[in-house]
Symmetry: C2
Subunit: 696 residues, 2 copies
């Protein structure tokens, strides 16, 4: 065997694991045109079960990639949430419904999307098709491929052109790559093989078996590696990193069934706290399915932390559900999938090694699935990381921005497990018998947690701290470990920041760019502004041009645009020679004059609608905050909290987070922002060239 | 060759021609599970150019099939229309814009969709994927297949089980099936081979050539044949049918380009009437493309009706456009497609032969493409016809309903060509010099036509006359030729009809079922009600249940439901033994009580949310007219003009047209409606069986 040549190759980015987190990373590479590979040890993709709640923020992200509409169309929409307390069955109360509260499941006005439910297999399908389309078939998931060793050449980690990470990959046989689903006598496939109740680090076994065969391995040299390989991450173990946290005694079962029941709220999200029999959560799904999360009071782990496997059957789980729901009756003929898990919350201490190997998703945080958070937070990890790696790999951004991954995402993971910790214990606890029962959980406390959970579950409360990428007050070292990158150049005092933030009070720096409707100046089409912030790796400078018909304001806009269009501006210097002027940074304008009174070509400087000698003027970059014919008035200035006369300038990162706010006169600060995070070239030879009008 | 056995086979429906009209017919067969074939003489599908405006109604129809979202996402949305008069270039007026009017391109409030523009190739792609999905790969377009002969066995045309139409089909070679696109020296593909300026009945040639080869033909026996084979329809000629009408001297050119221009309204639909140089229409499209319709004043047909081909080049067409647009400048580097046509309007005298062979689309009506009507009306022809043939072929509906195709669609075609006739002449005419110039077209007249065109172009003004399928006042014989089928059983006096119509004044009988938002009672999800009227071949009885919490009203609802659920009701008798109760006719309920005060299982009779022993209660059939959390109040009762206390009953046909309106007490009339058009079985053995609740 020693004589066989093992093939070697280079790749910019190697992604290990093709779940939602790995696929999100691959999607960025596809959208940014980065040379990447993605491997997964499993031979087949997930077809049913597993995580399935999609937050508003995840849908906004899907929209930035181009497939939110597909998820929105197929999913069950979560509209109403209900808290119920089912007390002991007293004579005469049969069939009487006691809803303690009915609330909108997504807080009204938070996002243009609402929370939906769709199983992970469909989400992965959307990703696969999207990656195929945008990478022009270049990036495909390589299945049945297992990493065997990982080495980082420390002498090369600071060299931009090097491939310092070496990974040995092994191709498994079809049999080896097939997960041992359907282990029990039950007809429905179970997910126990991925449950934390069953130990299943099979990599070593698989590698040993595979090594007996020859010629099935290869060596890959990568600039960057992203480990998205789940709670028992091989990549994490290869790096020797740990998860901090603990497990509890609470064990829950999960079943996806088509219910046959007289329980009236089966098509709403219900949190049911029974007096004696434990708790249950109802999550209505697509295709008549309902997911039940069922507290298994009669199953507890032994001293070793393992539960009695014989007690984990669909029959026992469903029996517990029937008890909790009594006096209502529930039954099923069809079960789509089931599993069980032990509640535990853990978070990684370190999210990356030398800014060359990164961990994301379950590989750095695990928690209970009930809050519907797992898939979302995992995808959002790599939505944060992917563009940073892509821009670094392409030489557009400085490699230093990569350290913001840990500072931004570890705090989110910590918030998540803290929330989950409180929520899970509350939910698994005994309900209070009456107001004097201090040990039990009162209905009020329970309901409060349910409401707070809704805000958290939207994914929209994420607020990144100060860094070279986010110009706001605060010390990056206090924002989270690893943020050694805040530059003096972008540092800002608390007082100054308050002033800048007040220019666009509806766009908090560090949070995602909220969306309101604006009209295209040239054709009057209404757009949710976020629809114009596509995930293509570009930063956006959003010029709120204010009242462009006012001569003084027009002069301010002209001056800002003249600075933008100067050869030494960040815009020209960021643009590669010969490339269109909007290749790296796109300028988008929203003005507040009446659309009927303004003319794109007459009233707006050419740099705002750049001229291309092959395709003419650009009609897709200038928008107006005005009434639409068919879809009302977006009131964008009002909602963004921007002055209609004077406007302001806002930078959105490629992942739609607000990065910088300033006056039209703050061009120098804006220039410094981009000098801080991007690799800028010399005076661009493009300057003025791309904006030459045809009419002199 | 005589010794070779020609294969023979039976098929329920044979569709000739796979343009939008034929594909719509095939889509119905796929959605209704009918055994069908679709053939096209061309070897490849259309990739660019051709008709591209999509009316509101076409989008509603696409939504009923399941792909409106795809068209909506890719298309350019037509928001604003502009009428412009460009006068002679006087010194000093350079660059001054004179818009005579700016109006919404789609009348506000007419539909949940607005008019969009997307080229035919994408529309055909959506159809092909939809047909593949719903027919489970059973129906595929067979390309390069030409019909050679068609015979109808008159002795069998009244036999439901017979296959009276015999068609001989011939498989062409790849070369024969390739259309002679790109004939000129121009780089852009041209569409002249489909233009009415070029005679091109190549079937005979193709058949002759093909006959020289052996073993390439087959014989198909069909129950029904639909000829969707275009303006020079082979099917129409095989039947010996004629088109009535005339051509004019007006010749227009069409170009799809990416314009490089300083003309300010290039991204709006513009009707431009120049003082001296003729007219131009601007239709902005997707991907920066713009379609220009250009009047060619310098090209006229000769005595034989043919134009001088040497004058039909992109250069000459574009030169005319530049003249019309002056003093604005226009140029292009990229041309996607171009063609030219002679304005003419013709309509078929007869739309079917013995209710066995039908003609649809351009095969029975031709007109100028400028009004953006062609593809829409053609698709709507087969949207009207397809479900009728499908239900007749399946034995669900009586074959007599097929004669309503001609009575309903010929009038639409006549209206269309009449409109087109007036509009085209107006548009091609000379603009008036001043108010005294009686021979010229005044700006006011021109603008008025533009506005009227918008209403017509929505596709929503279609109003079908009285027939066995549409219960309204009027004599079917006067509604249109061929309507020999109005039955005494559904005839209604003018006075009685007024009363019935007043029960739902917002749902005119004969017009499409308008859409407003309602909420699902069980889960609070808002739906545009039309989204629940999917194209699956089912009739819908919409029960406006009124105030269900009022005891007297509840008694009315209970009585209506008891009649529905009786074994002899049309509902049970229309349902095949063993099939779900909603297989042929679906009952949908909209009530007007507050959602929070009502309970699906408690307040609504079981027949309104039927119980299935395998999947439990149905949660998708009862809706409420109430405020939603995120999308406002649909005010459905108010908009439909239905009394909130008493409600009413409305029947929607499978194609969403309103067919019948009555009181809850008019059950007998409702029964008669379905006895008139459907094949009803005996007392159903399902009665009561499917609605047994689990709780006694």
């Amino acid at each position: 065997m020693g004589s066989i040549q093992v093939p070697e190759s280079n790749v910019d980015v190697l992604i290990i694991g093709a779940g939602p987190s790995g696929l999100m990373a691959a999607a960025w590479m596809a959208h940014c045109g980065v040379n990447a590979r993605i491997v997964d040890k499993r031979g087949t993709k997930v077809f049913c079960g597993q995580a399935d709640g999609l937050q508003c923020r995840s849908l906004e992200i899907f929209d930035s990639l181009g497939f939110a509409d597909r998820a929105w169309k197929e999913a069950n929409h979560m509209i109403e949430g209900v808290c119920l307390l089912i007390r002991l069955q007293n004579p005469g109360n049969d069939g009487v419904i006691r809803r303690s509260d009915r609330i909108p499941d997504t807080i009204v006005g938070l996002s243009r999307f609402q929370q939906i439910v769709l199983h992970q297999g469909r989400v992965e399908r959307f990703f696969l098709e999207n990656i195929k389309k945008y990478s022009k078939d270049q990036i495909k998931v390589e299945r049945g491929v297992l990493p065997e060793s990982l080495e980082i050449d420390l002498s090369k980690v600071d060299d931009d052109s090097a491939y310092p990470v070496t990974v040995k990959l092994r191709q498994l046989s079809e049999e080896e790559a097939t997960p041992p689903q359907v282990r029990t006598a039950s007809k429905a496939p179970d997910g126990l093989f991925r449950s934390n109740l069953v130990q299943e680090d099979d990599e070593e076994d698989l590698i040993k078996k595979s090594q007996a065969r020859s010629g099935e391995s290869e060596i890959v040299h990568a600039k960057y590696v992203i480990g998205c390989d789940g709670a028992r991450s091989w990549t994490r173990r290869a790096l020797g990193f740990e998860l901090d946290g603990e497990a509890t005694d609470f064990i829950w079962g999960v079943m996806d069934i088509i219910p046959i029941t007289d329980f009236p709220d089966i098509r709403m999200r219900c949190a049911i706290h029974s007096a004696e029999n434990g708790s249950l959560m109802v999550i209505p799904r697509e295709n008549k399915l309902v997911r039940l999360y069922i507290q298994l009071k009669e199953v507890t782990p032994d001293a070793s932390g393992r539960a009695d496997r014989s007690k984990i059957t669909p029959e026992i789980i469903f029996g517990a559900a029937q008890k909790i729901l009594s006096p209502y009756k529930i039954d099923y003929e069809y079960c789509d999938w089931w599993t069980a898990y032990q509640i535990g919350q853990r978070v990684g201490t370190t999210f990356d090694a030398h800014s060359r190997v990164f961990l994301a998703g379950d590989a750095v945080h695990t928690h209970s699935p009930k809050a519907g958070q797992g898939m979302n937070v995992s995808m959002q990890d790599t939505y944060n990381l992917g563009w940073k790696i892509a821009l670094a790999a392409k030489g557009i951004a400085k490699r230093e921005i990569l350290s913001t991954y840990q500072s931004e995402r570890r705090r989110v993971a910590q918030d998540l497990i803290e929330f989950d910790h409180r929520f899970s214990r509350l939910f698994s606890g005994r309900p209070a018998k009456d107001v004097m029962d201090a040990e039990g959980v009162s209905m009020e406390v329970f309901k409060d947690a349910f409401l707070k959970g809704n805000m958290f579950a939207s994914g929209l409360s994420v607020d990144y701290g100060a860094s070279m990428l986010v110009v706001k007050a605060g010390d990056s070292l206090k924002q989270g470990d690893g943020s050694k990158v805040l530059r003096a150049v972008t540092a800002i005092s608390e007082e100054d920041f308050k002033k800048k933030q007040s220019l666009a009070s509806g766009l908090p720096v560090g949070m995602r760019f909220n969306s309101f409707k604006v009209l295209n100046q040239a054709c009057a089409r209404p757009w949710h502004f976020q629809e114009r912030l596509k995930a293509d790796g570009r930063f956006r400078v959003v010029l709120f041009a204010g009242n462009i018909l006012d001569a003084a304001q027009k002069a301010r806009v002209d001056k800002f645009c003249a600075a933008l269009d100067a050869p030494e501006s960040f815009l020209h210097r960021a643009t590669p020679p010969g490339a269109p002027i909007d290749s790296v940074i796109e300028i988008l304008t929203i003005h507040s004059s009446k659309r009927f009174d303004t003319e794109l070509l007459r009233d707006f400087p050419a740099i705002l609608h750049p001229f291309d000698p092959h395709t003419g003027w650009n009609y897709d970059k200038v928008f107006v905050d005005d009434e639409s014919y068919h879809e009302g008035h977006g009131e964008a200035y009002k909602n963004y909290g921007v002055d209609k006369q004077r406007g302001c300038v806002v930078v959105a990162r490629p992942d739609q987070y607000v990065a910088w706010i300033g006056e039209l006169e703050d061009f120098d600060d804006l220039q410094k922002y981009f000098e801080g995070c991007l690799v800028l070239g010399n005076r661009s030879s493009n300057a003025n060239g791309t904006t030459l009008p045809i009419r002199q």
